[in-house]
Symmetry: C2
Subunit: 301 residues, 2 copies
């Protein structure tokens, strides 16, 4: 009995032979290329026929993923917008093999994981929420590359009760992407952290880029302008959905940064040299602490 | 007479043989290294005796810059905080050679250029306001490098009335630093643009870094978090002075970005999908226009 369990375990954690990829955008496309590079068979779906044809033509994708062959996949990576992710997985719930592991890539986890943990339990396949911490401000298959995730962090969001083996299976499935580290958490914690690290960053960059002064920046700007405006170039449809799906957490972060900016404004407007200096020193210290450089904070204040 | 004028012109625009550098921080230190690499004699001053000794010891600086030898310099680069810049140049006004060109590197130009154009006219040397668009979030001589300015833009701020030859002289003096382009403007325009491209970027990054969520970013962040927080690590003394010296322009930009952020917050809070999408599309378009990519804006909205 123990031997049989062990054997089953070993079987589960071997790498997948056939992977389904749903959505050949930047993220899905990069997964497809990484799997193809690793010699795995990739079946893929994309609503854009031209993208799918191109991915098949270049050899990344072996064949279109259909309701007929989705059952062959050991693993399915879903890289769609959140609502589309839920819809696609629910529609295919009864077609996945009983050994299949389905992992999504959505930028919010509560609206995806809650319905899909349920769907997976009902239909008898395994579902793991995922969020690769990688990307560019460009989107689409033409920017996809097999090393997009190399060395980057990956967030895993398992069901409320899970076996450690599920994490091993997810890591085995994701291995060809070459992630540098994994963090396991709940949908709630993921959404709270991502509201700041990714979503607020995009809102602030978008707002920053809108000053009419930006039109004259050439010759008067360097790294700081470039950094602050980089992600203002974004996909408005996708980010609108992500922001509204995480409105509570994002509102908390937005309120905080607005209140904070007003503090600097007040100090600058009233010529409060000591207060302004303290605000800036605190910002510097916050950055050093966030990066784990506590030693550098000494003497800073 | 015409020949003599021509000869004088040619003499003026040849590169300097001896350059004074005042302040061996990141900026002054990088100029000193660039001049030393170009085979020029560098005399330098720094209030920190250890830094000056190190710069002399490594051969970057030939000798300390003093009241006795400052008259030997064909050019003097002043890389101090704004008020210190004004004080140092005024104190040495009568000691510069009549052929000397003094260029400062301050991040604001009105409080520096106004008094120093006057001082230069009174004492009979040439002064040009300068602002190299380069830097790192690190400061100090140990981060200085001779190629810090290579390919970067340089802003020149000449007096209200000036001969074109003054620009040629400044470019000849700055040539060893390898700037990629030059922009010539007034102190007022410089300060208005820099309030946005550099100062607002630093305030926003400082405010952004202060969310308590930042402490848990590891494993949940990628490029956008890194970009938004990079320049939060700053020199609080220097930036306090720069911000207060440009309070009027910075206040305008700060007000604008706060109002703009509140718009996103309102749209997110009220679930206004169409309004939020439009705000994001406008931010994307603003970024593309600012970068001169007008063609990419088509169809975006």
């Amino acid at each position: 009995m123990e031997d049989a369990q062990m054997e089953e375990h070993v079987q589960h954690i071997r790498p997948p032979r056939c992977v389904g990829v749903v959505g050949l955008g930047l993220i899905g496309g990069s997964f497809a290329k990484a799997y193809a590079d690793a010699g795995m068979k990739v079946l893929a779906h994309d609503i854009d026929k031209g993208t799918l044809a191109a991915a098949c033509g270049e050899g990344t994708v072996a064949a279109p993923l259909t309701r007929d062959n989705v059952g062959e996949c050991d693993a399915v990576i879903v890289a769609l917008y959140p609502q589309d992710t839920v819809d696609w997985v629910v529609e295919h719930a009864d077609l996945f093999g009983s050994e299949a592991l389905v992992i999504d890539c959505g930028g919010v986890k509560r609206p995806i994981c809650e319905p899909l943990f349920e769907a997976a339990e009902r239909a008898g396949f395994a579902f793991m929420g995922g969020h690769p911490m990688a990307g560019t401000h460009h989107s689409g298959f033409r920017y996809a590359r097999s090393d997009l995730f190399a060395g980057q962090p990956m967030v895993l969001v398992p069901p409320a009760i899970f076996s450690p083996e599920l994490i091993d299976r997810a890591k085995a499935v994701l291995d060809p992407a070459g992630f540098g580290s994994y963090a396991v958490t709940t949908p709630e914690t993921h959404d709270r952290l991502i509201a700041y690290t990714s979503q607020l960053a995009h809102v602030v960059s978008s707002a920053f880029a809108k000053s009419p002064t930006a039109l004259k920046h050439k010759g008067f700007s360097a790294g700081s302008y470039k950094d602050l405006t980089r992600v203002a170039e974004l996909n408005p449809d996708m980010w609108t959905e992500l922001f509204l799906d995480n409105a509570d957490n994002l509102d908390t972060e937005l309120e905080r940064v607005i209140v904070e900016l007003q503090r600097y404004r007040d100090a600058i407007g009233s010529g409060d040299r000591e207060g302004l200096r303290r605000l800036l020193a605190e910002g510097s210290a916050a950055k050093l602490k966030a990066d784990g450089r506590y030693a550098d904070v000494q003497g800073m204040m």
